[in-house]
Symmetry: C2
Subunit: 285 residues, 2 copies
């Protein structure tokens, strides 16, 4: 593509349809027996919730996933499919998360953040471990950037293996708090506009450890518009016959915009997940 | 699924997006040097045309693919993508095929049938070779039935390996000429109604060798409605995050209707291709 040798890392075929199960499962596996017995709590109506529910079901760990009142029924079904209790609390993700933290503290349970946790970050880093085994040296990797858990885990692993590898952060223009925070040199409190990349949206927790990691690891940071995400998504589905979610189309869109700069290079696009709502897909088509 | 152990053979990820490239390529590889030099001709606006074009491009064999005047632009682009000449002739597939045969005879070129050819059938049979290598003994395989090239090739290979394996033919009710021909004991001349399973439509050539093969090989023959194909297709896309075409959803629909009869059995569903038109997909969603 564009005279570059482009490889796709297909987390759309990962269990639960997204890389998030890696971090969630790694976190669950690091808990003590006492912590496991007390149970875990998360706030997520999306891939983190599904990944955690998968791990709880597999490891027999009790707990609850809290979702905001407006969470889509299809995503709730995904979580409930793993036989994990889902409760509605709060009018948005911020309120659901606040409730989940309070609930965890009150009942002595472990709250599991989707990105601000060293064990979750290390779990996402296993994508990088696999890449170093699957592919000889490559020049750059394009990774969708939201809270920064995936980029921190994968970037840290890859840079330790090859300090020359270029880490390209890819964010939707409509929701790019980490991108702007890196530029400002501090974590900003910014509102997000709606984006097709629902897997990367949300604010950045004050003091999140992913901020300093991303600040160090990111070599290039690219913003893409909703139009670019939509076009990349449709083109990908049409060419590769796989469904991918909006967040997975963000690196594809970013590379499409900048491929002129990567001629003759070996590139990886991290396709982070598949969980697109079929009604959203219909609208895009 | 339904207490059966169900495996999917994913020809949707095959080169050109369909199993048809296997038969086309095998046929091209059996041609003499003189035949290769004279070139080949086919009539197909679909997967056979794309498979053949792929092979012609790869092997440097000249020739033409003829399509009817109403062929969809997206399918033509797929064929032209392999740098093979495409010409419009005739108002439907029957007329395009008649023209292609005449043209081939006139110019001393080889006409390549999509199913009525022993080398094409043997090529499709390589799906069966792979299955015997990939999976220990299984009890039944569900295969979409159109002209019968795929079923003949795969069925013959599998029965020679294990005579007990049940070959389940799956046809859309709207276009089931082979199903009705087998029941009648002779090749019928029947009109087809429109079907989502465009990959299996079309009449059955008088004297086609696939008739006696299918008559011997088919153990069970199932018809599915358009509604059943549509539901199976949407459910498959939603659960597996892969695009499949209508013909690939036919065995999925057939198994869904009859899975009660396969409890405790090991089953293969042959997912024959991915080339669904995105406008068709939009309508289904």
């Amino acid at each position: 593509m564009g005279n570059a040798e482009v490889y796709l890392k297909l987390e759309n075929f990962q269990l639960t349809g997204s890389f998030k199960v890696r971090g969630a499962l790694n976190k669950l596996l690091t808990l003590s027996e006492a912590e496991k017995a007390m149970g875990v709590v998360a706030a997520s109506s999306g891939n983190h919730g599904a990944g955690l529910a998968y791990g709880m079901n597999k490891l027999g760990i009790p707990g609850s996933v809290f979702v905001p009142q407006d969470a889509s029924p299809s995503k709730l079904d995904l979580i409930r499919g793993y036989k994990v209790e889902v409760s509605h609390h709060g009018k948005d993700c911020v309120e659901a998360e606040a409730f989940a933290r309070t609930y965890a503290a009150q009942y002595g349970m472990t709250y599991i953040s989707p990105y601000n946790d060293p064990d979750v970050i290390a779990g996402q880093g296993t994508v990088g471990v696999e890449l170093t085994e699957q592919l000889d040296q490559f020049d750059a990797i394009f990774i969708a950037l939201g809270g920064g858990g995936l980029l921190s885990g994968v970037g840290r692993l890859l840079k330790s293996h090859n300090p020359e590898v270029e880490i390209v952060a890819c964010s939707p223009e409509n929701s790019a708090v980490m991108h702007h925070s890196i530029n400002a040199g501090k974590i900003l409190d910014m509102a997000s506009l709606p984006t097709l990349s629902d897997g990367t949206t949300g604010g950045l927790e004050a003091g999140s450890m992913t901020f300093s990691l991303c600040r160090t690891l990111v070599d290039t940071s690219i913003l893409v518009t909703e139009q670019e995400i939509s076009e990349a998504l449709i083109r990908f589905i049409s060419e590769h016959h796989m469904l991918i979610e909006g967040a997975a189309a963000v690196p594809v869109a970013a590379f499409s915009q900048h491929m002129g700069a990567y001629k003759g290079k070996r590139i990886v696009l991290l396709i982070c997940g598949a969980n697109i709502d079929l009604q959203t897909l219909k609208t895009l088509l």
